[in-house]
Amino acid sequence: MRHFVVVGILVVAVAVLTYLGLHTVGLMPVPASAQAGPIDWLWDLQIKAMTFLFALIVVPMVYSLFVFRRRKGDTSDAEHIEGNTTLEIVWTIIPLFMVLGMAYIGAENLAETRRVDPDAMVVRVTGYQWGWTFDYPDYGITSNELYLPVNRQALLKMESRDVIHSFWVPEFRVKQDLVPGRVTELRITPTLIGDTYKVRCAEICGTSHAYMEAPVIVVEKVAFEAWVAEQQALASEAGQTPEGRGLALVTANGCRACHSIDGSGGVGPTWFQLAGSEVPLSGGGTVVADDAFLKESILQPQAKIVAGFEAQQMPAYNFTDEQVADIIAYIKTLK
């Protein structure tokens, strides 16, 4: 009996101390969305259950190892106890109701993270190897950064252009795959202003999966409207010139995910000082990067491969001649 009392006290003590320890350290990133609230609440409940069960198994085990260890010279067997049906039923039934309860709570919790706001702002998210593009159909703008107004639900309608990707901002908690051939949805209500969040692709998608990230910026409603106005002005101004239209195309198609514009390395060759330069080709020889070469490289990327980029498979793009000319005009501005 004494053993049970000691172990009982130890179980409670270890459970409480472990929980307090974990709670103090803090396990989750900053919660920055309305969806994070219920998820963190349920996680905390589960941590409580986990620490209790941890203590319930480990404490009697470790206690036994010390108290019931075999004494030197003792070769006899222990007491012959075959089992106890009542106990077995107890530790089958109680956990059964615990997990059913947990599942019920889990379903309620899921419903809470999916609560629909009819005024949600729609953002169309496109994922591709290896970048993100965000379209705001209400405002007619396109961006490679996800700008969101605080405390307004955003309804993300997501599509993939090639393979499966997954939209995840750790501070927002919830996650949703992007599946080729269909539109998947995710609702997020940002609650914390900040500009250090990032959407990080969570489903392996090839060579540069690790770098498939895009900035997420949560701002006040006023600042968001200012950003929208600025983007709209830029877009309409850019629409006047070939290089402006080219930039818009480059943004919408996520070209810069692979091609840097400042001479730094990347999955594909940089565009910095590319136009007119001499480019070494795979398998020897060089070519001058004139309009014809650039056009061919956009429409048929595998026709001539730049040395050092043999392992890459740039998809072919179906641009019109006019669009290609615009993009080339944009590339020519990068010097």
């Binding site: 996680w43 986990m50 198994i57 956990p95 997990v99 995840w168 392996i204 060579t207 999966h209």
Partner: protein, 684 residues
């Protein structure tokens, strides 16, 4: 005079053939590509195949495994050239950057795998029977270690063959892990960067290949490891002379060897970047290495299915007299549960991979949305096996825990019936939970809640096991030699895996945890607790039975005390960074997340684990000849195999035994589990 084969001559052959193979490959590659590419896939592929084969030639001569490998290499080439010839006749492209085109590689690899089986000799008896020639029921094995490199029908030899192959694959998969773990020690790309190139892959691509292969090679090694223990122990525990179908047993083992070669081939043939899950459309676009991976898994699946069939037949038909269902050793119950899953679910991973193979080869659009296919369907088919597979991995290990605990606490297994039934419970519920891997996949949203319920139910039978183990230990007389240490370690580590499971089952929390390092930490805990620790426990425990000697206790304890803390820190660290935003399967991470220090610690822990396993392997091979003699009942066990001297005679028990009591009645004076029937007493 007979030639003397040694490991030294094997290594010499390995080196020479590797160099020769490399230059042959380099020449062929230069002919096709018209430029010399030192690190291209083709020279590496030839070097690998030649070196591997020559090693066994040096060790063993041209027979058994060597002949199998030679057949495999030759028929891979013949098969490849047949398809290449057909393609040439039809005016299709003939060669590619990987020498053969993809269809030629796939057909060649399949032909090679089949040819291996004929070459190694495992089909000999069946071929003879088909031609009307009788063969003896038993084939006597040659004495000494050489029998392990050729076909044997003895379940004990096959068990050890499985175990050694599993250890080899663990070493390979572990080495891959160390390579990419080193890359992760700091943010930014250290040596697997975009400027390096090996086997036609740049650094991040090679990272993806090694990471993906680590997963699948370890999975295959686990399947072989559990088959090793089951093959060795189950007939001994049942009192049978062998498995029910000895030739099928040998076939199931040998088919795993060409499968392992295929998996390794995928590394040099361009690799693949999908993770072990191989989700299309990504896997439909990856290099030809993806096909070798699919084919390797497909072939390995046969090993699992046929092995499971054999176990079930053996347990149903070959038990000793009096061994009723409630007097079966508990490990046999676990083997039955695991075999039911392996026999009925493995087909689904073969099927899902085969469909992607056909999508690539024949343009069938199963998972291609442009052709009306559905990428999410693949995930359903894949996880229908791959979740229950986890229970295939851990149930035998949990059986080892339940089997060994009573011996070292000198008390009956608490609630034997409940522990036995909980294995079946886990196996059955395990079939109904697969879609919990897909909560974020875009499958029908209303499916998520029922799968949350079914998944959480797994906790109930698992809990019964934990509570019963603790009750077994309670009030025992506990001693802690190395096997018992690993049993206790297994319980603690598996508990960590078990406790970190339910959060992944509740949908909303899983939407945060899914595809992060939290999951990586969680399943490494379940696999180490459910397989790796019990596997080591079983080897330390049954080693004297197989060899008549004990493994060194001191180095066994060093192994345990080095591995256990390192491993716990490793998985806690994984879960910690995962919760804070570390995604799975990434070659590099954002330095802004501040994970550098944690990852450095994790890498150090990984090396500590590798060192401890190295110590184990040295201890294992050293003890075969130099271990302390242990021919009697080393652990003072009631189990039948310990009632006869070690090492076990080649046809097991010279006298059959009858079950006269409960298996785990420690502490009941005068009771016995088995009694040997005197000679001429009754039929076996």
């Amino acid at each position: 005079m007979e030639r003397k084969y040694t490991v030294g001559s094997g290594l010499l052959f390995l080196l020479i053939a590797g160099v020769i193979g490399y230059f042959i490959g380099l020449g062929i590659d230069a002919l096709i590509m018209k430029s010399v590419r030192w690190t291209a896939p083709v020279p590496s592929a030839f070097a690998l195949l030649f070196a591997f084969t020559a090693f066994f030639f040096g060790v063993y001569g041209y027979r058994g495994i060597t002949r199998g490998l030679v057949y495999q290499v030759v028929w891979t080439l013949i098969g490849g050239f047949i398809v290449t010839g057909i393609r040439a006749a039809r005016g299709l492209s003939v060669f590619s950057g990987f020498f053969f085109t993809e269809p030629a590689w796939v057909f060649g690899a399949l032909a090679g795998a089949v040819a291996f089986l004929f070459g190694v000799g495992v089909m000999d008896d069946w071929v003879k029977w088909a031609r009307g020639i009788d063969t003896p029921e038993h084939h006597e094995d040659e004495p000494g270690w050489e029998k392990y490199l050729g076909v044997s029908l003895d379940h004990k030899v096959i068990g050890i063959q499985y175990t050694i192959t599993a250890l080899f694959l663990i070493a390979v998969g572990g080495t891959f892990a160390l390579i990419f773990r080193t890359e992760l020690a700091a943010s930014g790309l250290q040596f697997l960067n975009v400027d390096m190139s090996l086997f036609g892959q740049n650094g991040p691509q090679l990272y993806n290949t090694l990471m993906s292969l680590h997963g699948m090679i370890m999975i295959v090694s686990i399947l072989l490891g559990i088959s090793g223990i089951i093959n060795y122990a189950v007939p001994l525990l049942l009192g049978a002379q062998d498995m029910a179908f000895p030739r099928l047993n040998a076939f199931a083992y040998w088919v795993s060897v060409p499968a392992s070669v295929l998996l390794l081939m995928s590394l040099v043939l361009g690799g693949f970047d999908t993770g072990w899950t191989g989700y299309p459309p990504l896997s439909a676009k990856a290099p030809v290495g993806q096909q070798m991976f699919f084919l390797g898994v497909f072939v390995a699946g046969w090993s699992s299915i046929l092995g499971a069939l054999n176990v079930i037949a053996t347990v149903l038909r070959m038990r000793a007299r009096g061994m009723t269902s409630m007097r079966l050793p508990i490990f046999v119950w676990a083997s039955i549960a695991t075999s039911i899953i392996a026999l009925t679910a493995t087909q689904l991973i073969g099927l899902s991979f085969q469909l992607v193979m056909f999508q690539r080869l024949f343009g069938m659009g199963f998972f291609d949305p442009a052709k009306g296919g559905n990428p999410v369907l693949f995930q359903h088919l894949f996880w229908f096996y791959s979740h229950p597979a986890v229970y295939v991995f851990v149930l035998p290990g949990l059986g080892v825990i339940s089997e060994l605990l009573p011996v070292f606490v000198r008390k009956p297994l608490f609630g034997y019936r409940w522990v036995a039934m909980s294995s079946l419970g886990i196996a059955l519920v395990g079939f109904l939970v697969w879609a919990h891997h897909m909560f974020a996949s875009g499958m029908n949203e209303y499916l998520r809640v029922p799968f949350m319920y079914s998944t959480l139910l797994v906790a109930v039978p698992t809990g019964v096991k934990f509570f019963s183990w603790v009750a077994t230990i309670w009030n025992g007389k506990i001693s802690t030699p190395t096997p018992m240490l690993f049993v206790l370690g297994a319980i603690v580590v598996f508990l960590m895996g078990g406790l970190s499971g339910p959060p992944n089952a509740t949908v909303s929390v899983d939407l945060h945890l899914h595809d992060t390092y939290f999951i990586v930490g969680h399943f490494h805990d379940t696999i180490f607790g459910g397989f790796v620790f019990p596997f080591f426990a079983a080897i330390y425990y049954w080693f004297p039975k197989a060899t008549g000697r004990r493994m060194n206790e001191f180095w066994g304890k060093v192994h345990f005390w080095l591995m256990t803390p390192s491993f716990l820190i490793l998985t806690f660290g994984m879960m910690r960074v995962g919760l804070l935003g570390m995604r799975r399967r990434i070659a590099d991470y954002d330095p802004a997340l501040g994970f550098d220090f944690t990852h450095l610690i994790l890498t150090i822990c990984a090396f500590a684990i590798a060192l401890s396993v190295l110590i184990f392997i040295v201890n294992l091979f050293h003890s075969i000849k130099h271990g302390e003699k242990a021919e009697g009942n080393v652990w003072n066990s009631r189990s039948p195999e310990w009632q006869v001297p070690s090492p076990m005679p080649s046809h097991n028990y010279e006298q059959p035994f009858e079950v006269v009591g409960e298996p785990y009645d420690y502490g009941l004076p005068g009771s016995k589990y088995v009694e040997f029937i005197p000679a001429r007493g009754g039929k076996h």
